[in-house]
Symmetry: C2
Subunit: 659 residues, 2 copies
């Protein structure tokens, strides 16, 4: 039975939840397909996550391998293929709790960087798990800066082999997933040397474990890097290479080749690799960032209407905590952000699909813009959503801190997204470099890519709003964001120019502006997100009240952003102090409005209880019962602790006579 | 041997590290004593934390109990007593990794709330661990709002007993430490009923487990609440009571008593309890909040001069990441905050000691101020420091995310401090209530406590700074903070008044202002912190360059705070946009200045390697070597995974013929 406090929230929805779910999925048909995949996965006990919170790192790893192997069978049984429409729902249905994701990157890198012969040799084996691959790029001492990698691959024309070495400890490969305990092969990125000359970083297929008994191959030292904040199920590994010899054919050679006599040949464009990295950054937003945030919102908001605490009015019963303005202020902006980023993600996916088609036609014009957008949005979305999940966790008080709430693992997992696939600060600086360049070009009248044409349209002016209602106009707030982004980009670009003109060296000047450059890049992404959210709302038809509630969320997202970065809007007087009070008043009004639909708005995310795996967030709101039932399953309740026999019994027995 | 990149940082310190350490400890003598305690603890293998990152929840619990029991022996052996000067260093030396902290709260509550007879009966047993106590206040459905507790204790005059019951699941005691697996007794807070009349919440001593065999007593259901984000070593528990009968003497009765015929007598003042809660909030700041932040700064800053990444200048070797402005911007404000909060903590401790002495003389005048300060500072310091530790973690990239860095456990532990001992938002609202009251009183000329007299001294005006150097004047920035705090308190107080005067009911008006009230309370605490830091620097003598470097940190803390809350300073034009650019310029200059002393400034915190327990943060900076050595000790490297035999071998063996 559903907790009555939660049930009552669903009776007053101002829109059709089912309709909104279909919009989020793309169509009602997509929703049906997604649900069919989820059901097939969740009804298969092999994919159960029930004991997950009680398992050790070893147990989590073993379960993930079991699931990965079972998934192949399941896909065959269900008729799902990697190219099929169901595929994208599988990972969501598994909540990412499966091994061999890096194996897929291994395959992708061979497909993209390998010759036809290499693809023909390796891909069939890999796709049947007849070998387990990994992707060994990052080293102990080297991450985002790939040129700094220290692993070497020296060509020996006498034997037609490369000799791979880890020259010092900082060159040890570190972090690659699936490598610590599973992989038999990996793609190693190493500095290629031919006749003493370095040709830069290249990828090599290296066998690291015996197919016979899984023991490390000669010259290979390999193992697991140990416990992390999350990803217990993944065997992130280390790898040391000592005079490991591989045949010449094992260098991935679609774009570069070493001929038998040692002649180095580069052919074709490497720009396509650039795009691969770029697409990975965009593709992770949905599965690794948005889903966790939507789950966290679902858990925290459902809990906040079940949890009662203290009294709002004397004499009444204790109030639902979501009825407190401070709780609304914590959670509802995160809910709005989940929708905002859902829509911007759709936009980015579309843009990237278009870009991909252009590039296949050898048109690389969009590449700089795509790179700047993917870097900036990867950084801002992961950062924003990580903070948002943390807020959801904290907003659930003590019970949010229990692993059984599901929030700790959502948080510790999403946090990693700020670090992997490019460190966020470095990514933002890449976006900033693009913005500064475009601003300079635009100010001399040159043509710039569509997403940055606004930089040329800078008007000084001030915000025209005269009362708090004016701040519910998307034109008003979008304009404010645009103004702010232009100001930050232009002022930083000018500071940079001034420094250089005053004699500071270019790289020093750049470093002296980086704090501000990061702010400018964030402002740019924030502006685009708000603008796109407002445009999306505009385009929604009004059926079933969805446009109305999305408008509220868009307003809330925009005004919350203005208040959070108030200094940036007040700085040049574009928004005055009095206007900021209007923003604040409108924002507080909106909290009360959105609060009414809060539960239906998270219901629309359509997570099953199994997928949430949260004692606080289930659809029925039976929070306390579930916490109690789940706690009893903990290994801490499954044994009398040896600590009692060893340490306590001797002390306590002496007490018996005294009480 | 010390990593040369780290060693070089120590050669250029602008002050004496040893001298600064002594100042942080209070005196050189205190430093010696602390080091002696640390050495005694760390040289005793029974207290080793070496395998901590690899242990299960069960193993962590057992180790913590072992350490607690061993500690008693150790204290006896060393001649340390609970009243002695060494005592406060023990917990720091153990890094909190020990059981029976709630046992101490059990004892404290009996000492404070129990009659002389009760103290005489229970304390000697408890102090010898002849019983293990706990403190059962929080329920599944009830936290900070104590009046809402649902557990009942009904007096039966026929048997001279209380019957305790958990009437429904939300009334189950939940979270008490040491209760899940250890405790034999606990203090249960329950609603007292006599002849059908409720007298509110009272404390009762209840035996929950047999002293004979540790099994639950009749009517008791007790267990462990399962995994949490941290505190694996603590057996946080649940407790259900079904018709549990305890003698009349087991109600703690120093202040309230139930006489044999059921007459309820209240005597003395309960205000002293109020102070107990207040002092706990202050006392946790040092051990649970400042130490973790100082450790996180030590780890992240040492790592940031060992880690090299990318190039600052073309042709040079890769740069120390701390030489990037963006990395300085992440870490150095956290370092400044650690010092700022260290000094404010000293101030609060002093204030509370003074308050305690006054109260013992039956002078309760300081109580409201102490309560407001302890609530506000508990909330702001825990919140600020939690964010700071997270920043340190993220600033270390992938390696920060490894448990072996020590940062994940520091973060997950400090996060709890935002939740326990009073939820932060509720605490800030208590501070805000005090501020509003004082502001109203002050504006009608009434006398208010010393920490809030500034509220009456509000001047409109604007900031007098004319160039960036002016913002290095403590008078200038302290005045700005004061102005901002007054503005936020007064504008919210006036909004509240307006609402009430316009007919909104008092409690509704309050709820409608809570978001702003929270901001006002934070601004007040921030102002006091800055002011006190500046005053402390002023009073330092100039010997050994310490005053100079502390001045830089104070400036940095203050200017970082202004930039972070720029909107609040710009709002009424007290600081103009042009002045904000000066703040920004001064701030960026300061980063480069403080960066030079960053390593000596964390060295001065004087943590041993064992205490940091971090592969990234050790004194010698041998980061990569240590990560590799520690990873090899992981249980994930101690067995061939059963996953290989079960799932992979059958697949891989079929490959042999194909390669």
């Amino acid at each position: 039975s559903v907790n009555p406090d939660l049930a009552s929230e669903r009776q007053t929805a101002s829109f059709s939840v089912e309709e909104l779910t279909a919009r989020l999925d793309g169509s009602a048909e997509h929703t049906r397909m997604r649900r069919a995949v989820v059901e097939a996965i969740e009804h298969d006990p092999a994919f159960s996550r029930e004991d997950q919170y009680f398992q050790s790192q070893n147990e989590r790893y073993e379960a993930a391998v079991r699931k990965a192997v079972h998934l192949r069978r399941k896909m065959h049984e269900m008729g799902w293929t990697e190219d099929g429409p169901e595929y994208k729902y599988i990972y969501r249905a598994l909540s990412g709790d499966v091994a061999f994701l890096l194996h897929r990157i291994f395959m992708r890198s061979i497909s993209v960087l390998g010759s036809d012969e290499q693809v023909a040799k390796w891909i069939p084996l890999a796709s049947q798990y007849q070998l387990i691959g990994s992707y060994a790029q990052t080293e102990l001492g080297h991450g985002t800066y790939l040129q700094g990698l220290e692993t070497t691959a020296v060509f020996d024309s006498a034997t037609q082999e490369f000799t791979l070495n880890t020259p010092k400890i900082s060159a040890m490969k570190w972090w690659p997933g699936d490598m610590g305990r599973s992989a038999t092969h990996t793609v190693v990125f190493a500095q290629l040397y031919i006749h003493g000359k370095c040709h830069g970083v290249h990828p090599f297929i290296v066998q690291i474990r015996s197919l016979q008994d899984h023991s490390p191959c000669p010259g290979i030292t390999v193992g697991d890097i140990g416990p992390k904040m999350n990803f217990e199920h993944i065997d992130n590994g280390y790898l040391m290479l000592q005079n490991v010899r591989i045949p010449r054919e094992n260098m991935l050679n679609k774009f570069c080749q070493v001929q038998p006599d040692g002649t180095y040949v580069r052919r074709g464009s490497q720009k396509i690799n650039y795009l691969t990295m770029t697409t990975v950054r965009i593709s992770l937003i949905s599965d690794e960032v948005l889903i966790p945030l939507m789950k966290a919102c679902t858990i925290a908001i459902r809990y906040s209407v079940v949890r009662r605490q203290s009294k709002l009015k004397p004499g009444e019963e204790e109030a639902k905590i979501l009825d407190y303005q401070t709780q609304q202020e914590k959670l509802l902006p995160q809910l709005a952000a989940a929708y905002a980023f859902h829509f911007i993600n759709d936009y980015l996916q579309e843009l990237f699909n278009r870009g991909y088609r252009e590039i296949q036609r050898k048109n690389f014009d969009m590449l700089p813009e795509l790179h700047a957008l993917s870097s900036g949005f990867k950084a801002t979305v992961t950062q924003h959503c990580t903070s948002a999940v943390e807020i959801c966790l904290r907003a659930c008080g003590g019970h949010g801190y229990s692993s059984l709430s599901g929030l700790p693992s959502l948080y510790t997992k999403i946090l990693a997204s700020c670090i992997y696939e490019g460190e966020n600060t470095i990514l933002l600086l890449q976006t900033a470099r693009f913005l500064v360049k475009c601003f300079m070009a635009a100010s001399t009248g040159q043509l710039v890519p569509p997403s940055v044409t606004y930089l040329a349209a800078a008007k000084p002016g001030t915000c025209p709003a005269r009362n708090k209602a004016d701040f519910l106009s998307p034109d008003v707030y979008t304009e404010a964001y645009q103004h702010m982004a232009v100001r930050l980009v232009s002022s930083t670009a000018l500071k940079l120019q001034d420094l250089i003109q005053s004699g500071v060296k270019k790289h020093d000047a750049w470093n002296q502006c980086t704090v501000q450059l990061v702010q400018a890049a964030k402002a740019h992404c924030h502006y685009i997100t708000v603008k796109h959210f407002a445009e999306t709302v505009e385009k929604l038809d009004t059926k079933a009240g969805i446009q109305q509630v999305m408008k509220h969320l868009c307003d809330l997202f925009a005004l919350h952003g203005i208040l959070s970065a108030a200094g940036a809007f007040l700085h040049d007087g574009y928004i005055s102090g009095a206007q900021m009070d209007m923003v604040s008043a409108s924002y507080l009004d909106l909290l009360a409005v959105v609060r009414k639909d809060a539960v239906p708005l998270v219901d629309a995310f359509d997570f099953t209880d199994k997928s949430l795996n949260s004692a606080l967030g289930s659809y029925d709101g039976q929070v306390y019962q579930r916490l109690y039932e789940w706690a009893q399953k903990s290994p801490t309740n499954k044994q009398v602790s040896p600590a009692y026999e060893r340490y306590l019994k001797p002390l306590l027995h002496s007490t018996l006579s005294k009480l």
